[in-house]
Amino acid sequence: MPEILTAPLVVEFPFTRSLGPVQSAFLTGLRERTVLGVTASDGRVVVPPAEYDPVTAEEIRELVEVGTAGTVTTWAWNPAPRRGQPLDTPFAWVLVRLDGADTALLHALDAPGPDAVRTGMRVRIRWAAERTGAITDIACFEPDESTGDDGRTREPVAHDGQFPDLLTGITAPARLDYTYSPGAAQSRYIQALADRRTLGERCPACRKVYVPPRGACPTCGVATSTQVEVGPRGTVTTFCIVNIKARNLDIDVPYVYAHIALDGADLALHARIGGIPYDQVRMGLRVEPVWADGAFPHSPEDMGAAPIPDHYRPTGEPDADYDSYKELI
């Protein structure tokens, strides 16, 4: 068994979400410490407001203001809060039916412990100090032992959904952390690259040599297991000249991005061509790898970097005949 490689993979993006009128009014309302619901086709007040009726699918747009206190309909005690959740000390997840609403809203309840929480208990919104127009403008709920009116409405009151500086979109950053493993075949391949050897794998059925190997011969559906060293030289089968900078790549344009069939391989891999003016690259050009200096495989900052050649350069050999590589294009 080869050593199995792993490396961190972070999938992170600040998604920009446009809201549409109902969600826009609701989230702007939260910024203004006002909770809006929407009247469904059957007269129920849905909070948080849906854009479309959960029963009839009709578009619903009749907004109402509801209370900022309400009743817990179910709850769950979270002893170990996780990244991104509303509170970083143990809390209860709650569904809360706000006064004037007929459905419940999901959020967190700040309570000293599970013994302090029960279904049917009264809670009220604790507003975030800084509010931007987001569900997190409700910092959380807190127990509300006052029996009196909290100053906000208990019966739904019609609302026009208008606020100054109505929000039309939100930014919703999301980050997920993965530990990526490429599996056995690619681990073998990458480790060989660190020794500046290119190891393909041969299919036992069709005898084709795959570079990089991916664990299966995709046409035969069987495991490739015999390693075959290919290259280092190869032939440019086709290419394009890149004139715009690719995202996150520090390569001066123009440069040539080519498909290269390494000698002994049955399909082409992709790489940059250097060591020759870009406008002189041609199909059939014979090339060889120029290896990058790199700290692969085990320095932390390079975890996950493939020790691939930095680019390929001409060998000086005569060009390959078109017929010799046309099946590899």
Binding site: F13, P218, A246, L267, G304
Partner: protein, 388 residues
């Protein structure tokens, strides 16, 4: 017992733009679905099931967004399926929906595909920093341009062909009110002078990135009989897949594309597609894919596709109009782009394509494929019901 004939009685799409900032994801899909229902003069209660498709979930940052969209799509209490077959997904989704009717599992099905790319950034979604893998060295066009060069080498096509396609499709888009790009002042000279991004591909020969959705109502004979407008009838539909990368793969004319077309023609009784098909909506993300697909789909002999383009055969008033809607080159909400091809083909045979209507179109082909040239889906629709 033979299959139930399937009719398209409702078609709707959004106005496609780079960023639909006025609607939520639900609002976007509703706009297309609502127009399809209106076209069919049906209500949500008339829909038995929903089949939805889109490309990778990372584009919107919502895993399986159909769960959240169930309410907006009137699917509560109904079956809902979510298809994902890469770029061909819009077509595959329609075919899965059509099979529900053909198999008589349901009578009337809403099918819909969408992408709201403005929620993130398509290139981000397509190039997540996967460890140990070479970063995409050349951007989106860099993937396609080498295959285009291979086509040019193989056929000897003059290097102006791509610009002819782009100029045609963008002009066609001017007749399509829903299209994303409306380049009113465009000239062939401007296309040919646009920056060379990924030589041999120029800026004007590339597709935009759009927010958009497309929806169709598919129904059986009974439903078709009640429809207020002429339906399109499905005469054939097929999906074919081949591996993304393999030894011997022909990126210029993939076998899966040929096989898929052959299957559709067999079902539809087409023996000479060039003569028997009146309009084609094919998935052309970069202009040169028009001549490539003309050959792959059997409209031209190998090496001859560019001659059809060059001679004007694929123009809106030509003998075989290709992408009268303006195509992917003018509108590209990725996950919906395939369904737009299917829907535009259906609009043509229904005679409801408006300004970009091909006169007398009776049979039209809709074509979708995945960017790696590995997944294909196609349907052939006609103005007449298929022979049962």
């Amino acid at each position: 017992m033979s299959k139930e004939p399937v009719a398209v009685t409702g078609i709707g799409q959004t106005h496609h733009v780079a960023a639909r900032r006025d609607v939520s994801i639900a609002g976007l899909v509703r706009e297309a679905a609502g127009r399809a229902l209106e076209d069919a003069q049906l209500t949500w209660a008339d829909i038995d099931a929903v089949v939805i498709g889109k490309a990778p979930d990372f584009f919107e940052g919502v895993m399986m967004p159909e769960l959240y969209l169930a309410d907006a799509l009137g699917a509560v209490g109904k079956p809902m399926l979510r298809v994902h077959t890469a770029g061909s997904v819009g077509g595959s989704t329609a075919l899965v929906a059509a099979n529900l009717v053909a198999a008589r599992v349901h009578r009337t099905v809403l099918t819909l595909a969408f992408e709201k790319q403005s929620e993130s950034n398509a290139m981000w979604g397509l190039s997540l920093p996967i460890p140990f893998q070479q970063p995409l060295l050349a951007g989106a066009g860099g993937f396609f341009a080498p295959h285009i060069r291979a086509y040019m080498r193989r056929t000897g096509a003059p290097d102006t062909i791509g610009s002819l396609v782009a100029y045609k499709d963008r002009r066609n888009a001017l007749k399509n009110p829903y299209a994303h790009l409306h380049e009113t002042g465009l000239t062939l000279e401007k296309v040919q002078a646009s920056p060379m991004l990924w030589d041999p591909v120029r800026y004007s020969e590339t597709c935009p990135s759009s927010d958009g959705a497309c929806a169709m109502i598919l129904t059986d004979r009974t439903g078709a009989a009640r429809a207020p407008h002429p339906p399109a009838w499905v005469h054939g539909g097929a999906m074919r897949s081949e591996p993304t990368l393999f030894a011997g793969k022909d990126f210029v004319s993939p076998q899966a594309g040929k096989d898929c077309a052959a299957d559709v023609y067999r079902q539809a009784g087409i023996t000479d597609p060039r003569r028997e098909i009146d309009a084609v909506e094919m998935y052309v993300p970069f202009s040169w894919y028009e001549p490539m697909w003309l050959e792959n789909l059997g409209f031209a002999e190998e090496g001859e596709g560019w001659k059809l383009t060059e001679s004007g055969v694929t123009e809106l008033d030509g003998d075989l109009p290709v992408n009268p809607s303006g195509g992917v080159l003018s509108t590209n909400p990725i996950g919906a782009s395939g369904m737009l091809r299917f829907a535009e083909a259906a609009l043509q045979v229904r005679g409801r394509a408006g300004e970009h209507q091909v006169d007398g179109a009776r049979r039209a082909l809709g074509h979708a494929y995945g960017g790696g040239s590995q997944f294909f889906s196609m349907w052939l629709v006609g103005a007449e019901p298929p022979a049962v």
